[in-house]
């Protein structure tokens, strides 16, 4: 018990302890955050359809799934490998309740009925999985959530009645209303951007709300929190419920993005990709998963061309991802934002050697 508990603290160096008690949004007085926001808003003017959807929308969808993992791992100390499974479950539910080419499976509900249904079911699924996972601690959580994810993958492969086996469900209908095709590049980009921003600020808010603070207390010392009268397991399960809802939202966007869902999208490798995204980006702040997702998507899209360019085999994309992940785990416990923070602190300290180390916490971006 104490061993796993120590490990959790070591993975997350006391970032929250240094965080000053800000009552307002940290983004408001940060120029970088405003610049990023403006660029994201006017992106359709700059980028073409390929960049808009294949790079930025995909980044934000993957980033939102990883954000749900960040919420669990960063604030509650539970590394869950089933977040992608929850997103995939929501995606399947949209396909099953909505309209698709597989008329014998899809029920043909309108999107405004199918999507809430999918969200509710996926949140339930994730909460039940979480309730199982919180029965154990620390590294056991990884194993159980990985087992759940893998079981779901094999189940979708074998089940033809609901999940249509390994071919999956194709040509899932996307919403059209108010005369707008919401899957067209630009409207869809704004839908994804809006959802991602909503989730980002929700997690940012939770981290400072009483619930989030209690959650961080549970992460750092569950026994003391239990002694203070907090229901430790209830907090953990509630964290799973919130994270499941966020992952489910991203899952709905994902099925609209690709218009199809198949077991390949919920494979074990894809589950682990989400962990990689979150760890590479950094799991102490909500912006981390989005940075990790951007790196991941850029690598996935351009690594092939790049590798061929420098005369290597283009198929070794996963090797690069794996080695990069190893390097991050070896040298920075806080991903890319940790490296950036350390570099900035180094610059600051060399400028003002007499001042004490600046508080690592206050947000940028």
């Amino acid at each position: 018990m104490s061993v796993t508990h120590d490990a959790r603290v070591q993975l997350l160096p006391a970032a929250t302890a240094q965080r000053p008690a800000i009552r307002t949004w940290p983004e408001i007085d940060n120029p970088a955050a405003w610049i990023v926001a403006v660029i994201l808003l006017i992106m359709p003017l700059i980028a073409n359809g390929f960049f808009l959807i294949e790079i930025f929308a995909t980044t934000m969808i993957l980033g939102t799934i990883a954000l749900s993992l960040m919420l669990l791992a960063g604030y509650a100390g539970m590394v869950s490998l089933m977040q992608l499974t929850i997103a995939g479950f929501a995606a399947y539910m949209v396909a099953v309740f909505g309209t698709s080419d597989n008329a014998n499976i899809s029920l043909g509900w309108p999107w405004w009925l199918a999507v809430p249904m999918a969200l509710v079911l996926a949140t339930l699924f994730g909460t039940l999985g979480g309730a199982l996972a919180v029965r154990t601690e620390g590294i056991y959580t990884i194993m159980i959530t990985l087992a759940i994810g893998a079981a779901f993958y094999y189940f979708t492969n074998q089940n033809w009645a609901i999940f249509n086996g390994h071919t999956g469900i194709n040509n899932v209908a996307t919403p059209r209303f108010w005369g707008v095709n919401w899957r067209a590049d630009i409207p869809f980009y704004y839908v994804v951007l809006g959802t991602a921003a909503l989730c980002y600020f929700a997690v940012q808010y939770i981290s400072r709300a009483p619930f989030g603070l209690a959650l961080q207390g549970v992460r750092d010392n569950p026994r003391r929190m239990a002694a203070l009268g907090f229901n430790v397991n209830a907090h953990r399960i509630a964290a799973y419920a919130v994270a499941s809802f966020i992952a489910a939202l991203a899952g709905v966007l994902q099925v609209w993005n690709y218009r199809q869902i198949s077991p390949g999208s919920v494979s074990v490798g894809a589950c682990i990709d989400i962990l990689i995204i979150a760890i590479v980006g950094g799991i102490t702040r909500p912006i981390g998963p989005y940075i990790g997702a951007l790196i991941f998507v850029l690598l996935r899209t351009f690594a092939l061309d790049f590798l061929v360019e420098i005369g290597l085999d283009g198929n070794r994309f996963r090797l690069i991802i794996g080695l990069g992940f190893l390097a991050i785990v070896f040298w920075s416990s806080d991903g890319v934002i940790g490296l950036w923070q350390r570099w900035r602190n180094g610059v600051n300290e060399s400028k003002r050697p007499a001042t004490p180390r600046p508080g690592g916490g206050h947000g940028h971006g």
Partner: protein, 336 residues
Amino acid sequence: MTRFVERHPVWALIAIIALAILLWLIFAVWPPGLEEAIGRKRVFLNAVFNGITLGGLYFLVASGFTLIFGLMRNVNLAHGSLYLFGGYIGYAISASTGSWILSFIIAFILTALVGVLLQVIVFRRMEGQDLRQTMVTIGLSIVFADLMLWACGGDFYQIQTPSWLIGPIDLPLITAIKSSGEPVYLRYPLVRLVIFLASVVIGVAMWLALNRTRIGMIVRAGVDDRDILAATGVRIQLVFVLVFALGAGLAGIAGVVGGTFQSLSPGEDIRFLLASLVVVIVGGMGSIPGAALGALIIGLAEQLGSVYIPTYAIVVTFLIMVLVLAVRPQGLLARR
């Protein structure tokens, strides 16, 4: 055993009844009504034997996994990669020399060597940080999987069964009675039985080594409290390296076994990683008898499930895991 019966008489009774029913199903000649209800006895017996031999294979993979976890608290998620690596090595050796036995020896040595390198180069640097170690093993499994895909391609490989093990043998188990009154005996591939016996021998040898030798005593003490053990002057790092080598080597052997009676391809590493995860979750982390029991349960559930409820076989395995987690989160045979 007696203490378990005293403490949980109801569970013991249920277990004994289940075991008795299973034994009766295996040894008795089925009455015609039963055959109508659940099908031919030959199908059932084949599923049971496949389940038990698959359980033997799962035990080989999971015992190394659980041994490493028990001593070093290292959830080695690259264990499946070691399995696949051992299988590819075994294939290369048996294809080039034609010797099945030699492929076991070399696969064991090479995977054990990889294990030693992992422990010395990687895991020793981050001792006690189990979550970080787990992350590293995830990264390593990705790198290994891609390297093996690079080297071996995406093809299926099957290791050639040696000629003296090819072919079925008759087992003294009656599957049916012919109308002439002549009994029909079960025919079963010899190689699977040999592999199962070998895994039983390995399991018993491990149990004896852990419980009856000095090294085993040190390992068990390390499982209980490695800090105190180190304080008594035992060279714990050496023990770590040896245990990691043994666990990795077992995964390599299992790879050769799996390559002989199933096949080797990319993706098998994840499959066997998942299998060993479920096996040790069911059996209890860090316990060798637990791994044996869990492997048997999962192997049987998978094979019987795939015969009688084909579309939901994986769900049965998963339900067993959920049930164990709900009733006994630490696993069936864990002490805590």
